[in-house]
Symmetry: C2
Subunit: 413 residues, 2 copies
C-alpha cells in the first residue's frame, strides 16, 4: 500500500511552524509497512487542496491529511474532501457524542461552531480527539482511503497512535514490530562504527540509529506473520546490542532517562535531590516530567550565584576561591549539600559555563562539572560540550542524570 | 513571484528527520515577498524528482530544493535537474575553488567524489558552502529559476540566508519588513476576536497571529520600496495593537518572556528567586535561558514534597493542612520563603497538579496556584489548565513569569 501525507495550513507555507506532524505520520506508516510516496504542504485553500488530493490519488491508495479541521469558517478541508468523493457532510452521531463528552469533562458549554465539527462525510468512521473538539475521520470509498486528522500535535499524535495505527495494522495483514534500545553515555559515531556491518547487512530485522540530545536510539524492526514471531526475531539482535554496549544501555521502548532513574531509586527506597547552576532547574524539571517522580524526588536547589551555592548548599568559600566555581570540588560540595539539606540518599550537581560569555583561559565555554552523591560517597567528573548555550544545557541534563544512573548501578556491585 | 519548495530525502519520507529546512526557506521567501505555493518532499529518486519539478513549474516560477547534493553515487538530483532544463553538467570553476578552500582550511585532502561536486548545470551561479563541500547553485533558464541547496541545516541555513536571500531581494526590487508584537496573559480567541476586522481587511501592512505555549505573536508585515518606508507603515499598526492590548504587550521581535523579566529587574536593581513545585525547576530554567540572567537571578528552590516546602521555604504545616498544598496560601508562603532565604526583592512560586494523577474533588488536575512576592507584598492567583502533564507545566512557566512581569509593572505605579 502507498500513502501520501498532505499537511494543510498557511502557517506552514509561511514557515511560521515546522511540519513535525509529517515526520510523526511517516514514521508511523513505516512502522506498519506502508510506504510514503510523497509529502505535500498546501495552504488553507480549497482549490489547492483539491489539486493535491487529485495528484496524490494518482500514485497513492491512501491519503492522510493533518490540519484544516478547526471550528472557524476558513476550514473548508472537510467540504473539499467530501466533494472530491462525491459525498455529503452529515452529522456524525459518534463524533457528536465525543465532542459533548470532551466539553462536559471541561465543564464548558458547546458553541454552535463546535457542533459543526461533528459534520463528517457520509460513511466516515469518526476518530475521537482526546485533546480538542475537532474529530478526525477515516473514509473508505472507490478503493481509496482518506484519513483526515487535526493539526495541533497534542491532538493528532494520540489520535494517530491510538486509533489510526491499530486500524492500519489490521488492514495491512502483515505485521511490523519495532523495539528501540536507548543508549546513553556514548557518542553517535562510536555506536555507528561499532554496528556498521550489522546496519548495512541486516534486512529482517533491520537496525537503524537515531540520535537526540545525548541519547542514541537503536531501532530494531522485524516483519512477520504475527507479533510473537516478530519478537522472536528481535530478541537475538537486542541481546547482541546489550552485550556490545553493556552499561550504556539505558533501556528500551518507553523507558526514558527520568523513568529509569525513578525506578532505580524506587527499587532501593532512595530519594534524590538536585543542585544546579548552569542547568538552572532543568535537571529537576526532567525528573518531574515523569509522572511517578513524587515517590523519589524530594526537591532541589538552583544555585546560580556563588552566594546561593554557599548559603543554600554550604559550598565553602575556600573551595570556590581555590578551585573555581566551575570545578569538580565545587560540584561535589553542591551535591553533598543538597543531599544533606533534603535528607536524601542521592544528589546530583551541575556547575559549568553554558556560554556564550563567561569563558576563561582555564575553563572555556561548554565546560561542565558534575557531582554525584550516594550515601556519603561523592563522584565528580568534567566534560566539555561544544554547542550553543541552551543545547549545552540540554546535554548537561542528560549528562548529569546518566552519571546518577551509572553511579547507582556501580554502587550496587 | 511564486515559489515551490521541494525537499529531497528518503529519511524525510520515512519520518526519521523533521523537515525544518522547509520552514526556514518559506519564512525567508515570505520576508522578501515571494509567495510559497506548495511544499513537497520526495525520496532520493530521479523519477519522482522529475515529476515534482514538472508539477512545480506548472504553478511556480521558482523552485528551491534542499538535499540530494551529497558526494555519494545516489545523489542524482543535479543530473535530474540539469536534464529537466536540457543542460549538461560542467565543471564550475568557482565551485571548484570553494571546495578546495574548504578542504584546505580543514587541512584535508580532496577525494575524487568531492571533485565531482563541482559539476553544476551549465550557466549556473555557484553558491559557497561554508560548512561542507557540496556547493549549491542558482540556475535561470526559460524564464524559470531553480535554486538547489544542500540538505544539512548547518549548510543550507547560512547559504540561504547569506547568498540566496540577497539575490532574491535584488531580484524582487521590493522590500518586505516584518515586526512581531508578543502578547502574554491573553488567549488566542480573545486576540482574534479583538482584531478580527483588521486581520481580514488589512492588505499592506498585513497582520497575522501565531500562538505558542501561552504567548500570542502578532506579526505586522509591510511591503515597501525601502526599509524606512516599511517601518513608517508598520508604526501605526503597532501603536494600535499597543493601545488595544496595553499591559498584555510583552515586547516585540527578539524580546522573550525571560529577556523582558531580566531587563525589568535590571532597571530596578532587583534580584529574583524561584520556588517551584509542579514546574519542577522549569521557571528557573527559563530565566537562565537568557544569557544575561546571572545579573538578576540569584537562585531557586524546587520543593516537590511537602517536607521540602516546609523545611526549605518555611511554609507552615497549618497552611498546608488548612488550605491544601495546592492553594494560594501555600504559593504565597513559598514565594515569601524563597525571597527571604535568598535575599531577593522578587520571588515567584508555583504549586499545582500537573496530572495525570493527583486530582481531588477540590482541586482537579491542571489547577495551578501562583505566588509573586515583591518587596514584602504578596499577590496570589489560581488558574486551571486543561492540557497534558508537561504542557500544563509549560503553560505554568509562562503563567508564573507573566505574573512577575505584571506585578513589577503594577508596583511601579
Amino acid at each position: 500500500m502507498k500513502a501520501e501525507i498532505i499537511a494543510i495550513g498557511t502557517e506552514l507555507l509561511l514557515g511560521n511552524i515546522v511540519n513535525t506532524n509529517a515526520a510523526h505520520l511517516a514514521e508511523g506508516l513505516a512502522s506498519v509497512g506502508i510506504d510514503t510516496y510523497r509529502q505535500t504542504v498546501v495552504g488553507d485553500n480549497p482549490e489547492r487542496l483539491k489539486e493535491a488530493l487529485e495528484a496524490a490519488y494518482e500514485v497513492a491508495d491512501m491519503v492522510i491529511t493533518s490540519g484544516g479541521l478547526g471550528a472557524t469558517g476558513d476550514d473548508l478541508s472537510k467540504e473539499t474532501a467530501a466533494a472530491y468523493f462525491g459525498k455529503k457532510l452529515v452529522e456524525n452521531e459518534t463524533a457528536k457524542a465525543h465532542i459533548r463528552e470532551f466539553m462536559e469533562n471541561l465543564g464548558r458549554k458547546l458553541t454552535e461552531n463546535q457542533w459543526k465539527q461533528a459534520m463528517l462525510p457520509e460513511g466516515s468512521i469518526a476518530l475521537q480527539n482526546s485533546n480538542g473538539t475537532a474529530p478526525g475521520f477515516i473514509l473508505e470509498a472507490d478503493g481509496k482511503t482518506l484519513i483526515m486528522l487535526p493539526g495541533p500535535p497534542s491532538e493528532i499524535v494520540p489520535m494517530f497512535d491510538k486509533q489510526v495505527i491499530p486500524y492500519l495494522r489490521e488492514k495491512s495483514g502483515e505485521i511490523l514490530v519495532s523495539r528501540t534500545i536507548h543508549l546513553a553515555g556514548i557518542g553517535e559515531a562510536a555506536v555507528e562504527s561499532e554496528l556498521h556491518e550489522e546496519m548495512l547487512t541486516m534486512s529482517n530485522p533491520t537496525l537503524a540509529p537515531y540520535a537526540k540530545e545525548g541519547i542514541i536510539d537503536l531501532r530494531i524492526t522485524a516483519k512477520a506473520q504475527d507479533t510473537e514471531q516478530a519478537y522472536r526475531m528481535i530478541a537475538p539482535v537486542e541481546q547482541m546490542i546489550r552485550e556490545k554496549f553493556g552499561v550504556c544501555v539505558l533501556g528500551a521502548d518507553e523507558d526514558t532517562m527520568e523513568s529509569v532513574i525513578v525506578s532505580l531509586l524506587k527499587e532501593r527506597g532512595w530519594k534524590i535531590a538536585t543542585a544546579e547552576s548552569l542547568t538552572g532547574g532543568w535537571v529537576a524539571g526532567k525528573i518531574v516530567s515523569f509522572p511517578g517522580a513524587s515517590e523519589v524526588f524530594e526537591g532541589g536547589f538552583v544555585t546560580y550565584s556563588n552566594e546561593a551555592k554557599m548559603n543554600l548548599l554550604g559550598v565553602k568559600k575556600e573551595t570556590i576561591d581555590t578551585y573555581g566555581v566551575v570545578s569538580e570540588e565545587t560540584a561535589g560540595e553542591m551535591a553533598k549539600g543538597a543531599a544533606e539539606k533534603l535528607g536524601c540518599e542521592v544528589a546530583v550537581a551541575t556547575t559549568g559555563i553554558a556560554g556564550p560569555g563567561g569563558s576563561t583561559e582555564k575553563t572555556p565555554v561548554g565546560t561542565v562539572c558534575f557531582g554525584v552523591y550516594i550515601n556519603g560517597k561523592i563522584q565528580t567528573s568534567t566534560v566539555r560540550y561544544t554547542r550553543n548555550r541552551n543545547s549545552n544545557r540540554d546535554f548537561s541534563v542528560i549528562g548529569a542524570l546518566n552519571r546518577v544512573r551509572l553511579e547507582i548501578l556501580n554502587d550496587n556491585i
